[in-house]
């Protein structure tokens, strides 16, 4: 809770810092703010609090999820650097402030106890992201991405709200536990059909936000058009917050109708895995490939939600952590490599841009390789354990229920190896430019840190898993 309050204040403070002449102070200040919020977040460890008449609830699960969100935000902010150097980003303070505000929304989505709070958190997050997506004002691609995201996002919000209204009509409350006791307590007259329809609408809205197929159609375009830094932000923070919210909503409120949403979710999971992985193979741009890869990772995370075992939260946590760190590394390298030789004024994001990267800068090539291996789920990296924990929740649920999903998931991980390794092959085996790429010290530090984390979590997953 302290983290939510402090981040809101820091965001406003950040806007005031924008008045200063020197822009140098902004980046360290924002990093300091996020670190402070992270520390404030940890203060509540092992305490359970309920705020504002059952609106928000903090517990260890909340703290774990929000720590992951704050960590990824910290990493994303640390690799932002083009602000202030070109015309477009003459007001970097505003972008940092909007990022902080959107994290406030994400934290509210993690800790909500009432559907009102879920709605407000979702909207704070989404509206900030519409702005960030369109932040490259003169680029038509960025404009198009912002408009698509905005129109599709508000459409999904409408569907989500209609679902909430119907659930309210059936249960008479927005409170998660009150809805939960209605659903599982079995009212004398039987569960109202409005509840089933409402649940399906809510699911459609939430699945849209975490970009699961068949609601993923906006993802590649938006991720491709947005400035790469914000793509990294969107694909990590939104996914973590979205899955935390989805899991919390489904387990606290709708455990009583598990038989219904389990079927919907497994269907969506299979479709997401197939669509995400197979389409990713056909991409010629690394950025678009990473966009489809984020769709496919939503599929893996959905397995843990659909399985709903006591291990599910820790599996979702570990997977989100591994995925977020690897994705940020991937995008960080992409930002640097793509801007070396722009084509027609925009960064070159094709696979060919990575040719010969190992000779141009060994550190970049190595961290890229580690992050791709982690995303593909090869042992000795964090991604492998993420997939392992997720798959073991499905095994716990039982092969008769989840067997089909598991088969598809394992097959699709193999497909994933193909497109992730294309980048590694380009950077190590192919020859391209030999001009070396320079990196700033902070950037270098972040790359080393994320690479070390990915390998460290791969070797000693229990260190973090004890906390979850």
């Amino acid at each position: 809770m302290l983290s939510i309050i402090s981040l809101s204040l820091f965001g406003i403070l950040n806007l005031f810092l924008g008045f200063l002449k020197s822009r140098r102070v902004l980046l360290p200040a924002t990093l300091l703010f996020i670190a402070l919020a992270f520390a404030a977040n940890l203060l509540d460890w092992n305490h359970q609090y309920v705020y504002f008449r059952d609106m928000l609830r903090t517990n260890n699960l909340f703290i774990n999820f929000s720590s992951i969100i704050l960590l990824t935000t910290f990493l994303t902010v640390a690799i932002s650097r083009s602000f202030g150097t070109d015309e477009e980003h003459t007001h970097p303070a505003e972008y940092y402030a909007i990022m902080l505000f959107s994290v406030v929304g994400a934290l509210m989505m993690v800790g909500f106890e009432n559907l009102i709070m879920l709605f407000i958190g979702l909207e704070i997050l989404s509206v900030s992201l519409y702005v960030l997506t369109g932040s490259d004002k003169r680029s038509l691609r960025s404009n198009e991405a912002a408009l698509k995201y905005f129109l599709m996002g508000s459409f999904a919000t409408g569907i989500f709200l209609f679902g909430i209204a119907l659930v309210y009509g059936a249960t008479g409350s927005f409170n998660l536990s009150a809805i939960g006791s209605y659903v599982s307590g079995g009212p004398t007259t039987g569960i109202s059909p409005l509840l089933y329809v409402g649940l399906l609408f809510i699911l459609a809205g939430m699945l849209f936000k975490v970009s699961a197929a068949p609601f993923h159609f906006w993802t590649p375009d938006v991720y491709d058009g947005a400035p790469t830094l914000f793509t990294a932000f969107m694909s990590t923070v939104v996914k973590t917050a979205g899955f935390a919210a989805l899991y919390r909503l489904l387990t606290v409120s709708f455990t009583g109708v598990y038989g219904l949403w389990w079927q919907v979710l497994t269907g969506v999971t299979v479709l997401t895995l197939l669509v995400g992985n197979i389409t990713a193979v056909y991409q010629s741009s690394v950025k678009r490939m990473l966009a489809y890869s984020s769709v496919s990772h939503a599929g893996y995370l959905l397995i843990a939600v659909a399985a709903k075992t006591p291990q599910s939260p820790s599996a979702i946590l570990f997977y989100s952590l591994a995925y977020s760190i690897a994705t940020i590394t991937g995008f960080a390298v992409l930002i640097l490599v793509a801007e070396q030789k722009p084509i027609e004024g925009r960064p070159d994001e094709r696979y060919e841009a990575f040719n010969g990267l190992a000779k141009r800068n060994p550190l970049l090539a190595f961290s890229l390789a580690v992050s791709m291996v982690s995303l593909a789920g090869i042992p000795l990296t964090a991604g492998f354990w993420g997939k392992f924990f997720v798959f073991s929740t499905a095994v716990d649920r039982g092969m008769t229920n989840m067997g089909m999903v598991l088969v598809v998931a394992v097959l699709m991980s193999v497909v994933g190896v193909y497109y992730y390794f294309r980048v590694i092959i380009a950077s190590y085996l192919k020859t391209g430019d030999s001009e070396p790429i320079g990196i700033r010290p902070l950037y270098r530090f972040i790359l080393v840190l994320t690479t070390a984390l990915t390998i460290g979590l791969g070797l000693f997953p229990d260190v973090v898993r004890q906390l979850f």
Binding site: N143, S154, F162, A165, S173
Partner: protein, 110 residues
Amino acid sequence: MQPTIPDVVQTIPLPYYIWFASALFVIGIVGVLTRRNAIIIFMSVEVMLNAVNLLLVAFSAYRSDPAGQVFVFFIMAVAAAEVSVGLAIIVMIYRNIQSIDIGLLNRLKG
């Protein structure tokens, strides 16, 4: 004695409200899916949100529970924030391509 507002709302049976709100909602969905003008799509989204508001108010009156009406206020406030961002995006696009036809936006493919 003046009838209270819940009494007035309750002069119409609840299913009528549900059907009416659903009809409005479907009109909104059809509008989003078929129209090509960004502003009209945006308007259709607002129709969807107002269908939700109507439904919430009807349920709230029938259950004599204020929470539904409070939610309506939040929806209105958030919708206003969304409008300001959305119109800014549409203006930004109009400045660049002098049109708000979403059919012209096809740079992102693959």
